[in-house]
Every structure is written in C-alpha cells, then in structure tokens.
Amino acid sequence: MTGESRRGLGKDELAARIARDIPHRAFVNLGIGLPTRISNHLSPGSGIVLHTENGMLGMGPEAHGDAVDLDLINAGKVPVTELPGASYFHHADSFAMMRGGHLDVCVLGAYQVSARGDLANWHTGRSDDIPAVGGAMDLAIGAKETFVMMNLLSRDGVPKLVPECTYPLTGVGCVSRVYTDLAVFLIEDEGVAVRELFDCTFDELVRLLEVPLLNRTREGDR
C-alpha cells in the first residue's frame, strides 16, 4: 500500500486516512504533534472548522514570513493564521466548549490506548520526567468522538494498544477509534473491533496484540 520498505501507512498516509473520516462541516481539535498533520489533508471545501484550545475557532494554516503574528498562535505555540468566520474567546470559554461536548472530533497522539478506550498520552511516569498535562485531559474527555493517531508499535516493537494502560492515564474510556499504521480499530462496548487493515492480516494483528479483537473489516481477513 506504500512504496516504502516499511510496512503499513506512513505518517502522512495515516493523516490522510483520518482526514477522510472527519465529517464535512465538523468542529475539530487536532492535538499537537502528529495529529496536526491531518490539517494538510482536509479538503478546502470540507467546511471543517478547527478549534485551538487557547481560544479560537476557525484556525488556518501555519503562518510564515510577514503573516507571523505572535498574538495568533495555536496550542503548540506555533504562529497560525485566521480563516474567514473565525472567532476568539477566553480560556474558560474555550475549555467550556470542549468539556461541554461541542466539538465533534478530537484527534490525539498516544503512548497507550486500552481495550476499553482508556488513554495514556501525557506522562511517561518516569520519575525524572517533569510532568506537564496542558489541555490533554480536557481534550480526551471533551469531544463527541476522540480518535487516537499513533503507530501500533513503539520504537521497541511493543504494542501500544493494550489490555490495560501501564502509563499514567489521561482519560478513562474516552477513545472511540484508534488509527494506526497497521490498522484502524473501533472501541466498542463488545470489545475492540478491527475496521481496516494496512499491509497486514487480521490474524497477524491477533498474534501481535494481547487485546481480543473482533473482525469488522469490510473484506474480512485478507
């Protein structure tokens, strides 16, 4: 599915795949880091409105050159632009918008996701790490749907979709879908369902993960 030697989707392919699943005209928050790339794959006619938790709806692309305005930044503190129809509001209003369930979709990176949709993405838990949570816990539980975007395996080859998170939790039971380089998973009441496979088979996933999996791929096991 990719021309690269690695298996599964590359980061931009994955971002494009997630972008396809975001409904037109949705209000969306893309977490800092990897999920930010999704914005490059949203079609201009989609009417999708981006929220940044530091107080803005209608955020445009990253600003460059003369367009840089240090009063206009995103949650990652990168200068951005303003689209027509944008609005500004203060921090309590911005997080009320999140916590109140008004965003349609939020996409976050993760260290781990559990089979019940628990999310761990804010702290390694290492004692020498200085903890910093930012808006992660609000984002995790706020949106109508929380998607995770991550590689299925860590750099050490350890699965990040797990029966129980061993990293400190960001939110409990908050993830609805997990988009990875190898597969798309749906977190459902009955368990974790595989919706789509990228260069691997359902049986391979079953062997790879300790999480029981349901096969909900359209084509069945390839």
Binding site: E53, P79, H90, H91, F95, M137, T170
Partner: protein, 232 residues
C-alpha cells in the same frame, strides 16, 4: 475603579513577599512582560504564581523564576523546550509545582471570580491528577470536585483600555486575561493603547472596568523570544 499609572514600576507597587500572583498569557502570547520585569525589580519574593506555563526562554516569567522569586507555581504545562529555568529549579527542589489540567485551571480561576464555592468537573477523573480529590457520579458520569483559585494580584496584558479600565484583547493573546482579571483582589493591566472613555464600543468590551484596578500603557511591545513551537 481603575487608576492609570505612569509606568510598570508604579503599577506593581505593593506586591508583598508571599503574595499569590496570577500572570496572564499562554506561552508568550498575552504575557505582560514589562509588568513582570517591574515585579522582578521590586524585589518581591516567595511568590505563588498562577500561569498556564512555567516560563519561556529568558524573559518575563522565566526571568522571575530564574531570579528565585517563585516559591510555587500552579500551571498546566511547565515543561517546554525553552523552560530551562523552571526545569533547573524544579530538579533542584527549589520550586513547588501544582499541576492542573488546563481546563480545570481555567475553570478554577473563573470560579474564583464568579463566586462559585466548588464545582464538579469530568476532567482528570480516574487520573493521578485527581488522586485524593473528592469524586462523584452524576447522571452516570464521573466528576472530580475542584475548588476556586484566587489571587492577591493579577498581571494581565490587554490590547486596549479606556480610562475606566474597559479592556479589549488581541487574537489568541486574550487567553487567561479576562478570567484572571476577575479572580484577583487587585488586577494590574498593561495595554498597548489607552483611549478616552466612550471610545470603545460597549458591545465589544471583553473585560469590563469593574475588574481592573490599575492600568499602565506600555506602547512598544518588548521583543518576544524566538522560542515558538515549544509545546503546549
């Protein structure tokens, strides 16, 4: 009601050792750098500071921390690429950290200004940041009880003020300004532009002057450090 001061030094007069000081801004956007510099020059120490972050680069809040004036910081995102002064103090055990999820931080500040005694928030439930806190299930959802966060002083940067202290902000530099202005006993605001009473449209005022005690005009913004992209 607001007084207009001549300079940042006069504006921050009276901030005592041990005070709790809210400082507006998200990273450097909306950070009242000149007020912080005046606070450093005032010598006030043993401060508890409330801010989203823990300083960027070497100026503003970072300089206050470097100078050893901050006993405790209440924030959501201390660790950034350019938070080296905080990092050093923290690892040396010289600064206390109360880490609060960003939305709970904002809502606790809002509650202080709004006279709310406490509130149940879903954010943080089931995480280590809710450990030891009261929890409650309401209509099938789990919540954590959080309390208001008040301050003796708020240092806020706004874009424009009239002479009654009615404020408007600029783009995402608005962030914590409006809620901090309402949560502090004494609110000190630096503005780029000061206009006569009646020059602002009453429909667009974000912070009514009732929340503002001291105003100082700081026309030319201080140079902002080149430390963008340093995390949330």
């Amino acid at each position: 009601m607001a007084s207009i001061l001549d300079n940042p030094t006069a504006a921050v007069a009276g901030i005592a050792d041990g005070a709790t000081v809210m400082i507006g801004g998200f990273g450097t956007a909306g950070q009242p750098v000149e007020l912080i510099e005046a606070l450093i020059a005032s010598g006030a120490t043993d401060l508890t500071v409330v801010n989203n972050n823990a300083g960027n680069g070497d100026v503003g809040l970072a300089a206050l921390i470097r100078a050893g004036r901050v006993r405790k910081i209440v924030c959501s995102f201390p660790r950034q690429r350019d938070s080296w002064h905080f990092d050093q103090k923290y690892r040396a055990g010289e600064i206390e950290l109360e880490l609060v999820p960003q939305g709970n931080l904002a809502e606790r500040i809002r509650a202080a200004g709004a006279g709310i005694g406490a509130f149940y928030t879903p954010t943080g439930y089931g995480t280590s940041l809710a450990e030891g806190k009261e929890v409650r299930e309401i209509d099938g959802r789990h919540y954590v009880l959080e309390y208001p966060l008040r301050a003796d002083y708020a240092l806020v940067k706004a874009y424009r003020s009239d002479e009654l202290g009615n404020l408007v902000y600029r783009k995402t530099a608005r962030n914590f300004g409006p809620i901090m202005a309402a949560a502090a006993t004494t609110t000190i605001v630096q503005v780029e532009d000061l206009v006569p009473v009646g020059a602002l449209d009453p429909e667009v005022i974000v912070t009514p002057g009732i929340y503002v005690d001291r105003i100082v005009r700081v026309p030319a913004p201080a140079p902002v450090p080149e430390s963008i992209g340093a995390g949330q």
